[in-house]
Structures are given as structure tokens and as C-alpha cells.
């Protein structure tokens, strides 16, 4: 898109990326959904750095009003004419098509900028401050995010750990099923678990009509002194009437650096209601690339089927890094180099490796 912007920006076409709620929390840097506008603005500034594009960003409100107003898609695209009328829309961004659209609407440019000429200055994701993989991820069935409201105190400490709450299909539909509670450290607050302090614990408080197999939970003791893994729980719910919210209080120590630990007690209200803005978290193994799987997937983009990828066949994250990744400088990424790239991506995004591996 940056290439299209460089050609059509000078022709008075305005381009904006709209920063919205995360499509896949936990992926690509362990990011978690922000709770406040200030946190979302921080995400957007990071996105600007990671993408390296010069296209300006605007940031959706924390109630996701622009996403809702424009059809609730993760990567949709719109072209608006000078009168403010939508003249093109698509569910998935397609820069080559945007170029064709602008050629039709405004006219072609004399010299087209190619993607490989753009040379984006990409920055890496924010790193979590302590290792991951100390505490195995919880395996959970297919679940969907539910609406939960953090009780945010003005001028209070941030939510270093942020709750992700999900329900399985039975719980969602019938009020009887499994409830996932995961407390994920927000990498932007740079906190880690200091395992010399008492582990995270929570209590649930609800009306008599709500029946849970437990109303308290304590995270397991972790042998490593410090880690960044989520603290996860799977509860069995035998009755949760849709009109009954559940109040959750969580107590934990969040530590920044070696000395500074905050004792935190934070509250949420949970609703048995699907959260359409929660995004799809993949849980265990999210973001982890198996070298062989990765190479196979990437070679699916090998349009001339010669078993290797040239720059014009490279896509996504590979393209701006192509020259660096082409270890032997032969102009191709081959199977072996692909496997090395998966290791690079794993170190780049810091996923916790799946426990079964």
C-alpha cells in the first residue's frame, strides 16, 4: 500500500490506516487487547513502527465505533470520493486492486512505484521482559470471547495482566459449559511474574443462580524465578443465566525490573455474551512456527513451482526482509533458508512453544 500511497499521495489522495481492536490477540508479539484509549494509541504507534509505512494512522475509539460503522471486518478497505461517498469497498485489503481503482477514478501515474522499491523501515515487536515457556499453556476447546468489563480506576495503576475470558459453545448457548480465564501480561507495561512472590489468585462472585465448580483459583507455583507466561484457568459452569453478570477480583504481583513490584487487586464484570470485538486467540502454540510446516506454507507462494521463492513471489513479512533472509545471497529463498526463517520468526514473535512438542 505504501507504493500506491507514494504514487497517489502527490495526486491529493489521502490514505489512512485505521488502528482497530486486535484480530488475533497473542499472535505476533504476544500483544493483548488494550483496555484504554491511551493503550490503544500505544498499540497504534507500535504498529506504525512495525509496518514502517509513512501512511498516517487514525485510531478507533475503545468502543470500536468505526469498526462497527464500517462492517466489522479485520482488514477491510474503502475508497471515498471527494463528496464523502463510498465508491469502493472490499472485505480484505488489496493494494494492487486499490491501484487499479485509483487508475480508473483518477488516472494512471507516469512512473509506478514497485513494492520492492519502497524499502520500509520495519521495527521489531515489543519484547516481553522475561522468558516464556516456563508454564505450559492450557489446552482448551474451541471457544469464543465473552464481554467483560475491567473496572478501570482513573489514575490507578495499569492492568499489567489483562483478562481474556472465553466460553465454549455449550456455555454460550445453554449456560452450561466451560469458562476460560486467562491473565495475559501486557508487553507494553513491561511487567513480568516474579515467582518469589505469591502466585496470582482470583475470586468469582455471582448471584445464587450461577453455579460454578469453583469460585476461587490460584495459579501454580512456577520454578523459574521470573516468566511472562499467561496464568490460565478452565472452569466448569453448570448454570449461568444470561442476565446474571459474574464479578471477578484478581490479586497479583506485577514486577517491572528486579526491584519494583506492584501488588494489585483488580476487578472485572463478566457477561454471558459474545464479544464481537474480542478477536480470535489461538491459545497454546499461538504464533509458533514449526520449521517444516512453515517452509511448506511459504513454498505454496512459489508460483513457478521451482521449489524456491524469488523476491517477486515473496509476500508479507518476508518481502522487506528478503535480502537479509537470503543467507547465501543467491536471490532465492529455498527450503533450507525457509526453515531458518521460521526460527527467526519464532525468536521475533516470542511465542511459547507448544507443550506437546
Amino acid at each position: 500500500m505504501e507504493a500506491v500511497y507514494r504514487d497517489y499521495g502527490p495526486k491529493n489522495v489521502k490514505f489512512y490506516f485505521i488502528y482497530k481492536t486486535l484480530a488475533h490477540p497473542e499472535l505476533a508479539g504476544n500483544y493483548v487487547q488494550p483496555f484504554t484509549l491511551a493503550e490503544r494509541l500505544t498499540h497504534a504507534r507500535q504498529a506504525e513502527k512495525q509496518l514502517g509505512a509513512t501512511i498516517p494512522w487514525i485510531v478507533d475509539a475503545i468502543d470500536n465505533r468505526l469498526k462497527h460503522a464500517l462492517g466489522d471486518r479485520p482488514n477491510s478497505e474503502f475508497i471515498i470520493n471527494p463528496e464523502g461517498i463510498i465508491v469502493r469497498k472490499r472485505a480484505w485489503s488489496h493494494p494492487a486492486q486499490v491501484r487499479r481503482d485509483l487508475e480508473e477514478l483518477i488516472g494512471p501515474v507516469d512512473h509506478m512505484t514497485r513494492e520492492e522499491d519502497v524499502h520500509l523501515r520495519l521495527e521489531l515487536p515489543v519484547r516481553v521482559p522475561a522468558p516464556r515457556g516456563a508454564l505450559p499453556r492450557l489446552s482448551r476447546p474451541e471457544m469464543q470471547p465473552i464481554v467483560m468489563e475491567p473496572e478501570i480506576e482513573l489514575d490507578g495503576p495499569p492492568f499489567f495482566a489483562k483478562l481474556r475470558a472465553e466460553a465454549d459453545a455449550d456455555l454460550m448457548e445453554h449456560g452450561t459449559g466451560q469458562l476460560y480465564l486467562g491473565f495475559h501480561l501486557d508487553p507494553f507495561h513491561n511487567g513480568h511474574w516474579n515467582n518469589l512472590t505469591p502466585p496470582l489468585s482470583f475470586t468469582l462472585d455471582a448471584g445464587d443462580a450461577v453455579k460454578l465448580d469453583t469460585t476461587t483459583g490460584t495459579a501454580p507455583k512456577v520454578a523459574a524465578v521470573s516468566d511472562s507466561d499467561p496464568r490460565e484457568f478452565l472452569l466448569n459452569v453448570s448454570s449461568w443465566p444470561v442476565e446474571e453478570p459474574i464479578r471477578l477480583t484478581v490479586t497479583y504481583f506485577a514486577c517491572v525490573g528486579e526491584e519494583s513490584c506492584h501488588t494489585l487487586k483488580q476487578e472485572y464484570v463478566l457477561f454471558r455474551k459474545h464479544d464481537p470485538d474480542g478477536g480470535g486467540a489461538r491459545g497454546e502454540g499461538a504464533g509458533y512456527w514449526d520449521p517444516k510446516d512453515f517452509a511448506k506454507r511459504m513454498l505454496a507462494g512459489d508460483s513457478d513451482k521451482d521449489g524456491r521463492i524469488v523476491k517477486s513471489e515473496a509476500a508479507g513479512i518476508l518481502l522487506p526482509h528478503f535480502d537479509k533472509l537470503d543467507a547465501n545471497n543467491d536471490g532465492f529463498l529455498d527450503l533450507k533458508e525457509m526453515e531458518v526463517i521460521s526460527d527467526w520468526l519464532n525468536s521475533y514473535h516470542q511465542p511459547a512453544p507448544p507443550s506437546q512438542r
Partner: protein, 74 residues
């Protein structure tokens, strides 16, 4: 380059489409075209924020063509 693929490695996979995947995407695009707001309708008037946290009103996007693309870090 598709924007999402820059910010989401998982989406890189989606670029490596097979025919069935391409058909599924086409269906999704057709469905999206039927949903509000439609082509020919005004851009909804919504106030969001600039990267500095200043209010940004979509109603001000007048007098020039505008390309809007949704994205995120993941």
C-alpha cells in the same frame, strides 16, 4: 503488499491461497458488498482519534479521494 500480512504472520498463510481458499474469499467479498454501508452511500460520520489522541472526524474527509484500510498489530 497486503497490509494485514505485514502485521500478522498468520495472514501470510492466507496469501498462499489454493483455489478453494480463493473461492471462499470471493464469497466473503460478495457478502461484504451486500452489507451496510453500501457503495454509493455516504461514509458514516464517526469521531475517532489521530495518533496523538486528537479527535479525528470522518465527516472531514471531503474534497479529495480517501483510502481507508483497517489493520492492527496482530
Amino acid at each position: 503488499m497486503r497490509f494485514i500480512s505485514m502485521c500478522c504472520v498468520a495472514a501470510v498463510i492466507s496469501l498462499c491461497t489454493v483455489d478453494a481458499e480463493a473461492q471462499r474469499m470471493q464469497q466473503k467479498e460478495k457478502q461484504f458488498l451486500k452489507e451496510s454501508p453500501l457503495i454509493g452511500e455516504p461514509l458514516p460520520d464517526v469521531t475517532v482519534y489521530s495518533l496523538d489522541g486528537e479527535p479525528f472526524t470522518t465527516a472531514n474527509l471531503r474534497g479529495h479521494y480517501t483510502v481507508l484500510t483497517f489493520g492492527c498489530l496482530t
